[in-house]
Structure formats: C-alpha cells, structure tokens
Amino acid sequence: MDKREYQWAWLMVLPVVLIVAFSAIMPLMTVVNYSVQDIFGPGSRFFVGTEWFKEVLRDPALHGALIRQIIFSAAVLVIQIPLGIALALCMPKKGPWVSVALVLLALPLLVPWNVVGTIWQVFARPDVGLAGVAINSLGFDYNYTGDPIDAWFTVLVMDVWHWTSLVILLCYAGLQAIPDAFYQAARIDGASRWAVFRYIELPKLKGVLLIAILLRFIFSFRIYAEPFVLTGGGPGNSTTFLSQSLTTMAVGQFDLGPAAAFSLIYFLIILLFSYVFYLTILNMDREG
C-alpha cells in the first residue's frame, strides 16, 4: 500500500473524527479545563494546578460515596448475573410462550429510569404501598425512608427488578445459539445436568456474560435517577452514590472546579474497572 492510499484513508475517517471531537472530546476538555482552575465568574479565574484533585481525594464524604458505590455495584453483579443465568435456563426454548416471556421481560427495560424510582417509591411505602404494607403486616418493621438497611434493601430489589431482564435476555440469546447436537453429545456421554451447564452452557455463554457484566457494572456504577427519586440518597446519606454526590457538588453547591476534578476521577474509575473486568474475563476464556 503506498502513501497516497493512506492519506485517502485519513480523509475518509475525518467525518467520524469530527463528530467524536464535537460530541465527546471537546466537552471532556472543558471539564479538564475546569478541573485545574478556580472560577469566580467570566474573566475571573485562577490556575490552581492539581489542588482540586487533592481536595476531592481527601474528601471523606466522597470516600463514603465511593465505598457505597463499590458495594452497590458488587451486590448488583453478585445477585443479577447468577439470577439472570438461572432464569434464562428456565425460559421456554420454543413455542408460543417464548414471545410472551420475552415481552414480559422487556417491560421493565422500557420504563424510564426516574419512573422506576417513582413506581418503587409508591410500591414500597409502608403506609399505602402494596409491598410496604405487606412486609409490615408480616411482622417486619420495614420503612425505607427511616432505616438505612431497609433503604438499601429497597434500592437493590428495585435494581434487580429493573435490570435482571437485560442479563436474562442476553443469556437467553446465548443459550439459543447452542446447537442441539451439543446436548445430544452430552447425553450420549452420560453427562449430568450440572456437567452440561458447567462444560457446555457456561463456556458458550462466556461472550454474552462478558457483555452483561460490563454493561451491568457500568450502568450500576453510574446509577442516579432511581435511588434519587426513591430515597433521595437517604436516610442520611446511606444511599447516596457517586453520581448523586457529584450532582450535589456541581449543581447544588456550584463548586465547578472540584466537581470537574471529581468527574474526571469518576470517569477514570469506571474505565479502569471495565478494563480490569475485560482482561479478567478474556483471561478466563484463554485458560478455559
């Protein structure tokens, strides 16, 4: 290939580069710009270097939010991935019930995120909500607005309700793609149901599970609307996650410098975790 062809290639890629520059890189650079300056108003700004980053990294409120965020995402993955696989295995493989099941599963995914919060806020209310009243009538003292454990429980159940469908649908598609001959071969070998899962279904699902874990991690790590509507981050700040702290800082207190520094750190954390997940799963695949 000669040099001229390379130049042509660059020209052809240019529109994409421009779009990405406008939609992603330039806004990101604005944030970078804010993160190294103290801004009082138009024309009145000072360069502060890494000062904001140091401040943000020392902030105990943010440490708390980060720890809660990690626990939340870990809980989401630990619950939703196995549950999603299990439910996908229970799905009908063919027949009229397939479409019924698929539509039912897709429903929670179609609800706007803040509406999910509203639904659960009403559903779980201890005075008038169906679930809240039911749990209290069973003898549990349940009140998600007053008790941090109850609030965590509600946020987790809500997220499971909202997002497990995604894992199920991905796994279901993966399972459907396994040729029937694999199951026959296993039957001929005399393999148990567990062996079929462990040595055929799970390895064949590796690809979709990688996607499911990545998506669920990224989405759960950025969660904002649902807990904000449901608990407002409370009681206290027990369900305040990173994005809500960030919003409070940027919009509530208008601390643009620290908020910008914080969002960059936030972004890097997600990038780092995602990359680690990606490498781990890729490695698992290689080792088998």
Binding site: A181, Q184, R187, I188, G190, Y199, L202, P203, G288
Partner: protein, 360 residues
Amino acid sequence: MSLMLEGIHRSVGGEMFLEDINLTFERGEFNVLLGLTEAGKTTLMRIMAGLEPPNSGRVVEDGTDVTRTPVRKRSVGMVYQQFINYPSLSVYDNIASPLKLAGLSKTEIDQRVRTEAERLGIDHLIDRLPSELSGGQQQRCAMARALVREAKLVLLDEPLVNLDYKLREGLRSELRNLFADRDTVVVYATTEPEEALILGGKTTVLHEGRVIQHGITAECYRHPANTTVTQVFADPPMNLMPVEVVDGHLLVEGLLRAPLPAHMRDLAPGHYTLGIRPHHLFVHAADGLIPLHGQVEVAEIAGSVTYIHVEVNGRDWVIEERGVHAVHPGEQFDLYLDPARAYAFDSADQLAAAPMTQSE
C-alpha cells in the same frame, strides 16, 4: 454385536419421518445411510442411539430389545455435522470425558486417550482448546471422543459436510482404516453418492422415510431397485425416458427406434422407463451407439469433464463428457446413447434389465 431394526415408525405431529424400517447391521461392517436431506437419516440415527423413541417397532441389540433403553445406558458414539467438543476443555480432556464418566482408572484413560489421538493424528495438539484448532482438527477430536470408548455402535451423521474439499478427502480416506479392526457397528449418513461409493461396505438408500434399497454398495449402484434410487444414488442422477418395447425394438415416438440390446431381449412388450448414466451418453458417433437429438440448455465445465444439460424429448438430460466442450445454450445438439449400458424399469417402477457387469 448386531443391531436390528424391526418395523420402525416415527411421526411427529402427523408428519411421517420414518415408515416401516426393517434393517440389520452387523459388526465390523461399514454401513452407509444414503439419502437426500430430510430423507430421515438423522431421525433413524437418533432412534438407533436411543436419543428418541420410535412410535412403534423395536431396536434389538444382540438379541436384546433396547428400544426404550435410554441413551446413557447404551454404548454409543456419535459424530455430528457440527464440530461438537466441550469448548472449555483441552483436546485431551475432551477425548477423556466419556471415559471419565464411565469411571475408568487414570492410567487406562491416559493410555486410551493417547492411542486414539495418535490414530487420528492429533496427538501433537492434545493440550490445545478446540477453538484453537482448524475445522478438520476439531472434527478429528470429536471423532476421537466418539471412538475412544469402544462403543458397540458408532454413528456418523454427515461428519465431513462442514469441511472443505481437501480436508474432506483426507479424512474420508482414513475413515475405513479407522474402523477396520473394530468390533463395532458403524453407520455413516451422507447425501453424497460419491462418498458412499468410496467408503464401500453396505449402503441403505433412504427416501422420504422409507428404505428403498439395502445391500452391498457397489451392487446397489449397479442394480438400482427403482428409478428413485437412480436419482438419489448417482450424481448427476441417471437420465430417464419413457419408452415402449414393440417387436424387439425400443421405441420413443419421434426420437428413436432401435433394436433391443442383448440384456433387454427378454423384456415383454409394453411400457418401460429407460435409464442411462450421463457418462454413457456421447457427443461423437461410434459403432453401436443410437443417435438422438436435443437442445442445449446449459454447459458446466468442471475441469476434466463437461456436463452438458440437454433437453431431449421434453426431458432434462445430462451428458458427462471428458474434456472441455464449448456449447451454447439453445443450440441444436446430436448425442449418442450406448444401448448396452442402458437400464430398463418396468411399469411398476422395478428394475427390469441392467447392463452386464463387466466394467462399470
């Protein structure tokens, strides 16, 4: 070990897949199950393996009725069209898996796995994962897995279909040797007549869920029981033409009138179907050939041979001619038929006369 199928019927939801199958397979034989797609080959194999029960009929193994015995209590190895291996296990563990489930000792497993891998020429790949192998190697691994347990019955369901031409030839030529000294009933399903002829042994021709011929492969080819066999067990299929036998002559109104060849002398007058293989039609006149006339539809040049499709008296015929021949669609065309090589099927569609078997 022998495997006997008695009056097997299989239908699902009103759709008939197999009808009245009666067959016996002996050990040490290589059995080819030949039929077009949807002929019922796979269903029959599934019933033989015990993966699926027949609606009626019996599967008898060495005198014991095993019709309702589940597959895990049978002794079966199966190879599929797709390359079926456990994706997360190495080649070694894949081959070892049926032995481990059978509870053999470690040393015996090790010895048998290595022997089998060597026979299939994958002993140097034993630590790899299936995904790191080529298609041909993956299928070798799957075959080793099916063979290693020394099963009484080995079923191969079009195992070479997904391999490319060269690999297919290589593996096919090894197949007979792989089974040569085994105490096993081997059944090999294929859609390709050529494969059946190369593999030899015995052939069962299936068509729309019925056995239409069963016997030694070369015999089936030389004496096709009816015209359906000539279409299934030949590629390109045999050319057919309705003819009349009148006072010692073959007669097709407006096409041919020729004295009966020696092997058809005994045919009673009446209506027959004449069959002639594409390579017994010629483009040049010679002694003893009957001239015919047709119109060229298309010509396929396949290297050393040319397939000339000709419309003869309203029938689509194929001529297989050595070398490259340039003919043009629509062209009027003279062809020559060797009557000594022609078949005749009676009005009940049964073979009435076949050429003498000296050289095929």
